[in-house]
């Protein structure tokens, strides 16, 4: 592709920044809604209880209180549905409960919603919530996933025995078992993938409005895509034609997957707005975020690798038990399965089978969180591969090199029926190891040891899948003033889409990025869309914008050809206009827009793009860290990343995605611990208690690309939004295990490896 000043590949500064950096972002809590009333929820203090209201009247009579709603007030509305149920391996299905908008007589996790108060302001609403009288009858409960599967465990749902929501499989069971039975060596590992809480800095929020004249609702919500929410509201919950519900999303303060889903508060603010005849706003606070937004990850996996005497991987067997929480969240069941479809990673493994089970507990529901299944899969595989290297007395790089899928094997069909188009896994690994100065590690380790510190070196080679499934349809318009407008159905959550799409337009139309406006997040303005998620926006959205730009450039040349009295074939796009190639005879886009023939249709190109296959970014993360054996404290000393994202659209945006993702992975590996007490209370329910990394916890990383363009994406792009959080957990943990194994022979430790956990492991080993 020809380099353009603001085009693809350029380190263009973000157009969003001026707004965000001066405090002029418009997040849901900043949106003006004249006459708005405030909603607050009574949430269950019990993990499992039956309840009855004994006093609603006191709250209703309190000053400033407009309404107190309970399940009885919203019987006409459907519950929040799970959209991704999983069938059992034998083809049967287990009944799938909806999540009620308000619980009628039984609560199933701490934070489950029981009543909604709407009042003049926040204070009045909260006071009224406290005044509601409820008679609670606590019931037996279960919070631990393995415990929930035992026969005697309390049941979350009466028609789901053993709390087993599904028991599915992928791959070939018998063949894999046979390979294992005959294999000379088998290495096994049991790993916990810790439950995480997203903690985007902007908690969720929503404003419901109802226009009685038009009989139409508007939901303004902090989301990852307006169309999905509109569809669920229309078809499943409110049972209205979609055009009766407008969904708007403005600036979003981070989502990481978790703002994708429909949550009960959204239909409720709409219903309340209609009942009260005025807008109703609900803004989650941080404590509510911990209890009422979907959690992420949460599985226990037993993984086994069958090897031959040379260390060749013969077969992989996975048994994954995933936590679902109390309700099946929007994509919750599928996420555990999705990971298994990437279980064999970058390796050529002949035999594969995974059993994937989903289990209910009396805890907050679990769903997709940055990476959604793929970080879990990469974590298991890369920990297992390191364990194999130890078992085979070889090095982690040698065993990987031996087993990587070779470039010559591409396109490669995985045992999970995916097709990797390209990928040079060993190349990325070698480049990362060289850049990380793997060779100098022993000297650094010796130096650390002299200071009483244990240094470890570890890495992970991952591959993941992005941008699969649905496509995007959108448009590019030349406005009358010569600027351009992109309409797109993806949704920026901070990734910088306004800049990225403008760069794609700039590539084709040679205009500065600030002459391109990107419109997203409004079902009235953008007809269709699939939001942000699965790292899809850049690969899918850009491909659509590229097509539209290409198409529009032809339309604009056609418009210009009359005026320039030249054939379209002799025209080129240059300097913000159309020019006769090789001459200085040109017409600017602004002038084209004013030509009589430049009708709105002639100035607009509508295009769509649907990916034929996922794209497969991959790479190697290398981590070098030190453990203080006295305290169990870990410091990451060096971190090196070599990734293949196909084509780099904007190196600044790309590095930002990778960097942020890595820090989330470091948080999962070392500090983010979700703790439930036995009676189902979430103990780690504040930012003081839940360890989101801070600036001093993470250093600076070295990031570089070794791109191999995707052959399935028209621009060669591969998604990059989640990769950082995929490579990082296993890299950090492999480095930690390396340090612990060298010094104490410790071969296993689970995430999060908090100082306490490390300290305990060292003590136990020393004993």
């Amino acid at each position: 592709m020809r380099p353009m000043k603001f085009g693809i590949g350029q380190a263009v500064k973000r157009v969003e920044d001026a707004r965000l950096i001066t405090g002029h972002g418009q997040y849901t809590g900043d949106v003006e809604a004249p006459g708005v009333a405030t909603a607050s929820f009574l949430r269950s203090p019990h993990a499992h209880a039956r309840f009855a209201f004994v006093d609603l009247e006191t709250a209703r009579a309190m000053p400033g209180v407009l309404a107190v709603l309970t399940a009885a007030d919203v019987v006409g509305l459907g519950g929040v549905p799970c959209l991704a149920p999983m069938a059992n391996a034998d083809g049967t299905t287990t009944p799938l409960p909806d999540c009620p908008l308000l619980c009628a007589d039984e609560v199933r996790h701490v934070g489950d919603a029981v009543a909604m108060v709407i009042a003049e302001d926040e204070l009045a609403a909260r006071d009224a919530v406290e005044a509601i009288g409820v008679d609670w009858e606590p019931l037996d409960l279960v919070v631990d996933v393995p415990a929930a599967m035992k026969g005697e465990a309390a049941q979350v749902w009466p028609d789901v025995p053993g709390n087993l929501a599904f028991d599915s499989g992928i791959g070939k069971k018998e063949a894999t078992d046979a390979v294992f039975a005959a294999a000379p060596r088998v290495v096994a590992l049991r790993l916990v993938n810790n439950r995480l809480i997203a903690n985007y800095m902007e908690p969720r929020g929503a404003i419901g409005e109802y226009d009685a004249g038009e009989d139409r609702y508007t939901l303004t919500v902090s989301s990852q895509g307006v169309h999905g929410l509109q569809d669920t509201l229309a078809t499943k919950i409110m049972k209205l034609p979609a055009e009766k519900i407008r969904v708007v999303t403005k600036d979003v303060g981070g989502g990481f997957g978790v703002k994708t889903f429909m949550y009960r508060e959204y239909p409720l603010v709409l219903a309340a707005a209609k009942m009260l005849g005025r807008p109703v706003r609900w803004l989650s606070d941080r404590s509510e975020h911990f209890l009422a937004d979907a959690h992420g990850r949460d599985n226990v996996t037993v993984a086994e690798m069958a090897l031959d005497e040379k260390g060749r991987f013969l077969g992989l067997r996975i048994d994954l038990i995933g936590g679902l929480g109390a309700y099946p969240s929007q994509y919750g069941p599928y996420i555990h399965y999705l990971g298994a479809t990437m279980a064999t990673g970058p390796y050529d493994i002949g035999a594969f089978h995974a059993r994937v089970r989903g289990v209910y507990t009396h805890t907050t529901p679990v769903d997709a969180y940055r990476g959604a299944g793929r970080p879990e899969a990469a974590y298991v595989l890369e920990r297992l591969v390191d364990a194999c290297a130890r078992e085979m007395k070889t090095t982690p790089d040698a065993i990987r090199a031996l087993n990587f899928i070779k470039p010559a094997q591409m396109p490669y069909r995985t045992p999970t029926k995916r097709t990797y188009d390209v990928g040079e896994f060993e190349g990325a690994m070698r480049q990362a190891l060289a850049r990380a100065d793997a060779a100098g590690f022993s000297a650094r380790a010796a130096q650390a040891k002299a200071q009483g510190k244990l240094r470890g070196f570890g890495f992970a080679s991952y591959i993941e899948c992005t941008a699969w499934g649905e496509g995007e349809e959108g448009s590019l318009t030349l406005n009358e003033d010569g600027s351009f407008t992109v309409l797109v159905g993806t949704q920026s959550n901070g990734q910088g889409h306004e800049t990225a799409y403008a760069q794609v337009v700039a590539q084709y139309l040679d205009v500065p990025v600030d002459s391109v406006r990107v419109v997203q997040g409004d079902t009235d303005r953008v007809a269709t869309g699939n939001g942000t998620g699965g790292s899809r926006s850049i690969p899918v959205g850009s491909a659509m914008v590229a097509r539209a730009s290409d198409k529009l450039s032809i339309q604009l040349k056609e418009l210009a050809s009359d005026r320039l009295e030249a054939a379209v074939a002799d025209l080129e796009i240059a300097d913000g206009g159309v020019r006769i190639a090789g001459t200085d005879r040109a017409i600017s886009f602004a002038d084209i827009a004013r030509l009589p023939k430049a009708t709105p249709e002639a100035r607009r190109a509508v295009e769509s793009y649907t990916p034929p296959e996922a794209t497969y970014p991959n790479g190697t993360h290398v981590c070098e860290l030190e453990v203080d054996p006295e305290t169990g404290q870990v410091t990451i000393e060096r971190y090196t990343i070599c990734d293949d994202f196909g084509v780099t659209l904007n190196p600044l945006l790309l590095a930002g995605q990778v960097h942020g993702g890595v820090v989330q992975g470091v948080g999962q590996a070392l500090s983010e611990r979700t703790v439930y007490s036995e009676d189902g209370q979430l103990l780690s329910a504040s930012l003081m208690d839940y360890g989101v990394p801070r600036a001093a916890d993470v250093g600076s990383f070295h990031f570089e690309t070794r791109n191999v363009p995707s052959t399935t994406n028209p621009l060669g792009l591969k998604g990059a939004g989640e990769a950082g959080s995929i490579g990082s957990c296993p890299a950090v943990m492999n480095a930690l295990v390396d340090a612990l194994h060298r010094n104490y022979g410790i071969a296993h430790i689970d995430m999060p490896a908090t100082p306490l956990a490390i300290f305990k492991a060292i003590r136990a080993a020393a004993r």
């Binding site: 001066t22 800095m201 009483g452 901070g494 305290t631 942020g660 989101v692 306490l756």
Partner: protein
Amino acid sequence: MRRSIRFLLGEEWRDLSDVDPLTTALDWLRTVERRTGTKEGCAEGDCGACTILVGRMQAGRLVYEPVDSCIRLLATLDRCHVLTVEHLRRPDGRLHAIQRALVEAHATQCGFCTPGFVMSLAALWLDDPSPDEATIERALQGNLCRCTGYAPIVAAARAMSEDDEADRLRFARMRREAEDKLATIDASEPVTLRHGARVFHAPTTLEQLDALRLAHPEATLFAGATDVGLWITKQMRDLPTLVWLGGVEALRRIDETAGALELGATVSYRDARAPLVAAFPDMAELLDRIGGAQVRAMGTIGGNIANGSPIGDMPPALIALDATLVLRSQRGRRQMSLEDFFVAYGKQDRAGDEYVESLRIPRIAEGETFRAWKISKRRDEDISSVCGAFKLRRDATGAVAAARIAFGGMAATPKRARASEAALIGRPATRETFAAAAAALATDFAPIDDWRASAAYRMRVAQNLFERLRLDLAGAPTRLPAREAAHG
């Protein structure tokens, strides 16, 4: 007596008389002023999204500090110069040097944390035009970002003083004008606000405070509100009568005499840092790991003591240093050793009309060593699992001649480790001596067991601190490792 609060919001006066004393600065900014640039991420001082810059008059000059507006009560902005993210951009629309540096470094993604970072950096920019890495880290401890991974923000902090002359000139002018305006308010006049059944008093002298204490023994005293603010925002407590200590200049006194350091009760961590570190170098690390920059600018040492928490970080250090507490009421003053102040969990030796007036910390003598270590789940902005402090004197032979040791997080109160002290005193500073002192800890303490840290962990770590102390005395490195310079 004034019945309103007066302060400057940017260059504009605000004079408010109808203020609910429980209103936070953040709520007022966002809902009344509709200045929505300042964000709420947690409402409990943890995330820094709500950071604003508050200039406080001190001897006729404005001192600017980063403040978590979510737990700062509006009424306590009296006589202050308040700046929010919206004030930084120049009137011609040009971004402030800090903002330009953030854009250049790609240091914002979703942008929700960004206003808070901008304001924390603004405080740093005023304090230190060329901060080193450690200073930057300290300035950012109280701000969370979930998107960027921080490195770009740190890079922006390094670059923010480049090409900033115009911004410095503009700020100096704003400051002078604000000082002139605020100087017109009589600082000696007490303030009382009434709103419904709630009252807010801001006395300006100890005598007024004594009288208020006597008249309203049920009133809630507060200083920095880093504890009390959370009672309001998180526990939804109604506090009908509030007495704010921040207006009493006499409580902010810092006296450095030859024998001791005397701190008024409302001296903040930030203001106490220089004199404390000069007297006790080991305090630096402890102080720098209390909260973040905002909490250290707001929170007071007197509040940390009065709050009586078993995991407050100052009491162990101050007990080891043999500090004396001065309590005051209209009845007079009462002095006691700080260790005697903590009676039992949630109970201190303080009568209803008394308040903490000051703290006297004897300097360490020649030959004495003072060490304090905080152990927490996370390095920054975290509550201690264990906090241990040691004051030791060795004689000419190297034997331990005197020892005062105190721990936080090991019992229902901050507490002396008397058995361990006894095991050290009179013994040579050998491995065996310190091991015996560590073992003796078990006779003094039965630490609590919670998910933050198990009892066994607390005990073990506390015992290990004796080994660390021994190594430290022998000259071995025991500091938290400084991070290796970023590579690549």
